[in-house]
């Protein structure tokens, strides 16, 4: 149905008399034409009254078409009465002859609808739209579309239910009924009206998939307690959860309304719903942009830099960190609230990362700026690289959230190569370490290293050293290059960790060995894509 017909008459009359606004009336008559809802409030009110006044013989449907000559005719008739009948809004002052009953209502301020509590009244007006757009513009976000999400107070569902029962009581007398699912949803109608207005003001389209969210929370404190009766009727729907302030959440209320019997509902809740004194209030208007992800690879040239800030008891133990050195510039450019740094594995404070570097990804939460060209990203990369000699980044680029999975894959599955500077207690000659080069796929059993045992579970890890290449330095030193499975503890492989890593360099060389320096030479993950830097 796209417009009101004769069989809607009893519904329209009933709802109008009990204090329901024209748009809610249209909803309960299952009117699906979006344009109708967008008509100015006063016009709709007038049209509804015209509809009720008209005799059955007349073409009442025509009145609700967008182009409607008969109504125009009526309007013209009314303007003949005098120029000051039309006030500055273009709405008509009421003509005494039309309908004396309605005069009182029209003269005073618009009554708050007893079903939508003003959502489809005041909050569809240009003033509110301006208020929302002001908030959006002052928040200084970069966006190309928006999704408008609205949080309505739960008592709206209760009132909707009461109005529906009321309507069914009335039309039941005529042998008709209205299914709850056929009623146009309040939120849907609201969005029909407000999306085009917001879209116009903000100059971008509304898009359900948009990452930029404008959200409004409505509340109506005056009627907050209206839901409470449901708790005694359906106690199992309302379980107090830790995070929620009130047990009467929208979902819980809707569930209870489905369960409760009609008679019980009518016992506890007035039908028709009462007319409230006040409108809803818009509690908060908030903007939020979906997170963006920046990926790259980092090199670490310092032997004194932790991956993440090292703070014990509020005291910073070492200055700065890999994640801070990279992220702080991104935070500034993207104007984000916060960041989450993750990488494909990590290295100790005293270990350098050489070669192509280690893949990382940074999630920037609620960024104000989201569009960056490849040139701008290169510029950002340069800025980061100029700011510190402890780290360098490459292949800096924007990626999607799903791309992060590829990086974490690398942590578990891919190989790494290292270079270790090793010391031995007893003297070694070139021949003593040559055999290491021939060992392939060496299986290790590593118990959780003592140095991390306080914060990791005790376990035994089987890991493989794929290849080794030794470089003799002197009687007590040599350099060892190794290619290992992900997750191998290199330091423990060298010194043996009290014999808890077997075999180890010490046991292989039959001497005591220790590691003086360790470098990561490569992390063999081919993500993120290499850029021509």
């Amino acid at each position: 149905m796209s417009s009101l017909t004769e069989k809607d008459r009893p519904i329209v009359q009933l709802l109008l008399n009990t204090g329901t606004c024209p748009r809610c009336i249209l909803r309960f008559c299952c009117v699906g034409s979006q344009t109708l809802y967008r008509r100015p409030y006063k016009d709709l009110m007038k049209d509804i009254k015209e509809f009720l006044k008209n005799n059955q013989e007349e073409e009442v449907a025509v009145c609700f078409d967008v182009v409607d000559p008969p109504c125009k005719r009526i309007r013209l008739e009314h303007t003949e009465e005098g120029p000051d009948d039309v006030n500055h809004n273009g709405a008509l002052q009421q003509i005494p002859s039309v309908n004396d009953e309605n005069t009182a209502m029209e003269h005073s301020a618009v009554k708050v609808c007893n079903v939508c509590l003003g959502i489809l009244q005041e909050f569809c007006e240009a003033d509110f739209v301006k208020k929302v757009c002001q908030k959006v513009n002052s928040a200084d976000y970069q966006f190309t579309s928006f999704v408008f999400s609205v949080s309505l107070p739960p008592q709206l569902s209760v009132r909707e239910c009461a109005a529906w029962l009321l309507v069914n009581q009335e039309i039941g007398k005529l042998g008709l009924s209205l299914a709850k699912d056929d009623i146009v949803q309040l939120k849907e109608a609201y969005k029909w009206i407000i999306h085009p207005q917001l879209s116009e003001e903000l100059s971008v389209p509304a898009d359900g998939k948009s990452l930029f969210e404008v959200s409004v929370v409505f509340a109506h404190p005056e009627t907050d307690e209206e839901c409470h009766f449901l708790a005694s009727a359906c106690p199992d729907c309302f379980k107090p959860a830790k995070n929620k302030q009130s047990v009467f959440t929208r979902m819980a209320v809707i569930k209870a309304l489905e369960k409760i019997k009609e008679e019980d509902f009518l016992k506890h809740f007035p039908c028709p719903p009462s007319s409230p004194k006040n409108l809803c209030v818009a509690l908060e208007i908030q903007c939020n942009n979906g997170a963006v992800f920046v990926a790259g690879r980092y090199n670490k040239y310092s032997r004194n830099l932790p991956q993440t800030p090292w703070i014990i008891d509020g005291e910073r133990k070492l200055e700065s960190s890999v994640e801070e050195l990279i992220s702080e510039h991104l935070m500034v450019e993207f104007k984000a609230d916060s960041f989450n740094f993750s990488s494909s594995g990590r290295e100790d404070v005293d270990v350098r990362t050489l070669g192509n570097g280690r893949p990382f990804a940074i999630e920037l939460v609620n960024p104000r700026r989201i569009h960056f060209t490849a040139e701008e990203m290169k510029g950002l990369q340069q800025t980061i690289n100029n700011s510190s000699d402890k780290i360098q980044v490459r292949d800096l680029q924007l990626v999607t959230r799903s791309a992060i999975g590829r990086m974490k894959e690398g942590e578990e599955e891919k190989t790494k190569t290292y270079s270790a500077l090793i010391w031995t207690d007893e003297a070694i000659q070139k021949e003593d370490i040559a055999f290491l080069d021939d060992i392939k796929e060496l299986k290790l059993e590593q118990k959780t290293p003592l140095r991390v045992l306080h914060r990791r579970p005790l376990a035994v890890r089987c890991r493989i050293i794929h290849t080794m290449k030794s470089e003799y330095i002197d009687e007590h030193h040599f350099r060892l290059h190794l290619k290992t499975q992900a997750g191998t503890y290199i330091k423990e492989f060298v010194h043996g960790d009290f014999g808890r890593t077997k075999p180890n360099i010490g046991s292989l060389l039959k001497r005591r060995a220790d590691i003086l320096e360790l470098d990561v030479e490569s992390v063999d993950v081919d993500w993120p894509p290499t850029l021509d830097n």
């Binding site: 003592l450 306080h454 005790l458 043996g496």
Partner: protein
């Protein structure tokens, strides 16, 4: 802070001429240190040790039996099973591969425990005093 329990330098077992006959982690009818199982980061299920809790008993070939005590309050994380199969390393490398056990004290007690221990220097002074008083 993780603690590794080892035989002290001056322990009789580390002096010349001693051979280890056997090492026994069964310290009472109900308790074997070998049955210690820990799970998770917080090492649940660990046997709790006080300073005087025995870790193991070691018998030497000359008939002596020595009880090795924990000396540290905390959860027993693991005992060194390598010394069961290869008792020689207990004497050859007592401070590394020949360790006895690993213990994790409670976080709050960590500092006070560390303060109650002797540094290498302080230990050497104790040994010196011992030597002087006995001669």
């Amino acid at each position: 802070r993780i603690c590794v329990i080892t035989l002290a330098e001056a322990h009789p077992l580390l002096q010349n001429g001693k051979t280890i006959k056997s090492i026994n982690y069964q310290i009472s009818a109900n308790c074997s240190r070998l049955q210690n199982k820990v799970s998770g980061k917080s090492k649940r299920g660990a046997q709790f040790l006080t300073e005087l809790a025995p870790l193991c008993r070691i018998s030497s070939s000359d008939g002596e039996e020595y009880t090795i005590y924990s000396c540290i309050r905390g959860r027993l994380i693991e005992v060194n099973e390598n010394i069961l199969s290869n008792p020689a390393i207990l004497q050859e490398k007592p401070s590394t591969e020949g360790y006895i056990a690993v213990v994790l004290p409670k976080f709050e007690e960590s500092k006070s425990i560390t303060q109650g221990l002797l540094t290498q220097k302080e230990y050497e002074e104790v040994l010196l005093k011992r030597l002087n008083s006995s001669s």
